[in-house]
């Protein structure tokens, strides 16, 4: 059985300057209470790797507004004018990565692969500075694996062993990122006794989770 920790205690584990993977898609399936605690702690200089920057006032958008991010690796920032402004002013360095490539780079990092070969991005600015190799007559970009110091993920249910389930479009990057953080912190909506989640329904095995947030007090 695991001990659940408070969001403030979890945020204290994440030092300034850390590289942080954060689950979610436009704020859906994002660990909101964890983000609120990082903002409250005044986190600075984070490298955030996530699908998108959500929008001001929601999910990762709160970290952007709080000035907590110095570098972002994302596939889409179009719904957050604030991060676009901070990118142009140089306050946040942004690397844009095709969505399918981003998730596979994170997967590669998490499952111990040396990278990904993909045709996505060939002939576009994404190719700049990257190695191109040919396999069986087809050209591919070599995309490097991504690992984070932390993976901050959201789940629907966690049991006392840390086994996780996800709901509908709140899956997105969460189950992939769960493998790619040196420390994995999950924010479940519901914590249930062992046995409530049948083994076949477990999407992320609890053995790879380091900490889980306590339920809302």
């Amino acid at each position: 059985m695991r001990k659940a920790i408070k969001p403030d205690d979890a945020a204290a584990l994440v030092p300034d300057g850390a590289t942080v993977l954060i689950g979610g898609f436009m704020g859906v399936g994002t660990p909101e209470r964890m983000i609120d605690a990082l903002v409250a702690r005044g986190a600075r200089n984070l490298t955030v790797i996530a699908n998108d920057a959500a929008m001001p006032g929601k999910g990762i958008g709160k970290l952007v507004s709080a000035g907590a991010i110095s570098r972002a690796i994302m596939s889409h920032i179009g719904l957050n004018p604030e991060i676009q402004r901070k990118m142009i002013s140089g306050e946040i360095e942004v690397e844009l990565v095709p969505q399918g490539t981003l998730v596979e780079r994170i997967r590669a990092g998490g499952v111990g692969l040396g990278g990904v070969l993909t045709a996505t991005g060939l002939g576009t600015p994404v190719e700049d500075g990257k190695q191109v190799i040919e396999v069986d007559g087809k050209r591919y970009l070599v995309e490097k694996p991504i690992l984070g110091d932390f993976a901050l993920i959201a789940a629907q249910q966690a049991d006392y062993s840390g086994n996780l389930t996800y709901s509908l479009t709140a899956h997105n990057f969460n189950p992939i990122m769960a493998l790619a953080g040196r420390m994995v912190i999950v924010e479940p909506e519901l914590i249930v006794p062992v046995g409530v989640i049948p083994p076949d329904a477990v999407k992320t095995p609890g053995v790879i989770i380091d900490h889980m947030l306590a339920r809302v007090a």
């Binding site: 898609f25 436009m26 704020g27 859906v28 399936g29 699908n51 998108d52 929008m55 994302m74 596939s75 889409h76 920032i77 179009g78 719904l79 676009q84 990118m87 844009l96 095709p98 969505q99 399918g100 490539t101 998730v103 596979e104 997967r107 993909t118 045709a119 996505t120 991005g121 060939l122 002939g123 576009t124 600015p125 994404v126 629907q156 996800y166 709901s167 509908l168 479009t169 709140a170 899956h171 997105n172 990057f173 969460n174 189950p175 992939i176 999407k203």
Partner: protein, 229 residues
């Protein structure tokens, strides 16, 4: 981006409706289809329900349904634009690796995307205007590189400026010749020989199409009027 409508509306039909109706004719029963945000999403309105078409949203659902009644939204069920949706019977929820595995792996029958420019090679630019608009490519590059058919749905020209050009000046989305280009004025098929004008918009002449296109169009014989279903 706001784009000025350049075509003459057909009996009260907007340019967007003409485009959406024509693209819908390309959809076959049982297909798995991904529609982009904005104009492409209108295509769903013109596909018969009994076709059993499944729509994918790349954020993680196969079997996207209509907007839910007000007050009954599920915060965990949105489309790729973040709008609340429902799921149809037979739907599946998936993570982003599965979602893009389906797209990149050639399991997606068709994607419909907006465009900023299409050129004589059939290449598409639709994700950034350097110095002006840098939203990120999201899933666009994977969709164009991986889908079995790529259909570009866009208004023919923007504020008098041609969008169908000899060679894209904006950064490309992929090195892939798209399957079909549908505007309110024309249906154009990119081929190894160049862009072939297949159909005209309602009440539109070939001359009008050529006047709003800087790319070379191959025109052979009579060009039929597009069928809008």
């Amino acid at each position: 981006m706001e784009q000025q409508v350049t075509g003459r509306p057909h009996s009260g039909m907007s340019a967007k409706e003409v485009i959406a109706r024509r693209v819908a004719q390309e959809v076959r029963p049982g297909m798995l289809v991904n529609l982009g945000i904005g104009l492409p999403s209108l295509v769903a309105n013109y596909i018969p329900h009994d076709y059993g078409v499944f729509f994918q949203a790349e954020n993680g659902v196969i079997g996207l349904g209509a907007r839910p009644p007000e007050g009954m939204e599920d915060p965990h069920l949105t489309d790729a634009g973040g709008s609340f949706v429902t799921a149809v019977p037979g739907a599946a929820s998936i993570d982003s690796a599965m979602s893009f595995g389906i797209i990149r792996g050639g399991h997606l029958d068709m994607t419909v995307l907006g465009g900023l420019q299409v050129d004589e090679r059939g290449f598409l630019a639709n994700w950034m205007v350097p110095g002006k608009m840098v939203p990120g490519m999201g899933g666009a590059m994977d969709l164009v590189a991986g889908a079995k058919r790529v259909i570009v749905a866009m208004v023919h020209s923007a504020k008098g400026e041609a969008k169908i050009v000899p060679e894209c000046t904006l950064p490309l989305t992929a090195l892939r010749r798209v399957s079909l280009l549908v505007t309110e004025l024309a249906v154009i098929e990119p081929t190894a020989d160049g862009l072939v004008l297949r159909e005209r918009g309602p009440d539109i002449s070939v001359e009008e199409i050529l006047a709003q296109t800087t790319a070379k169009l191959i025109v052979t014989g009579d060009v039929p009027t597009m069928c809008l279903g």
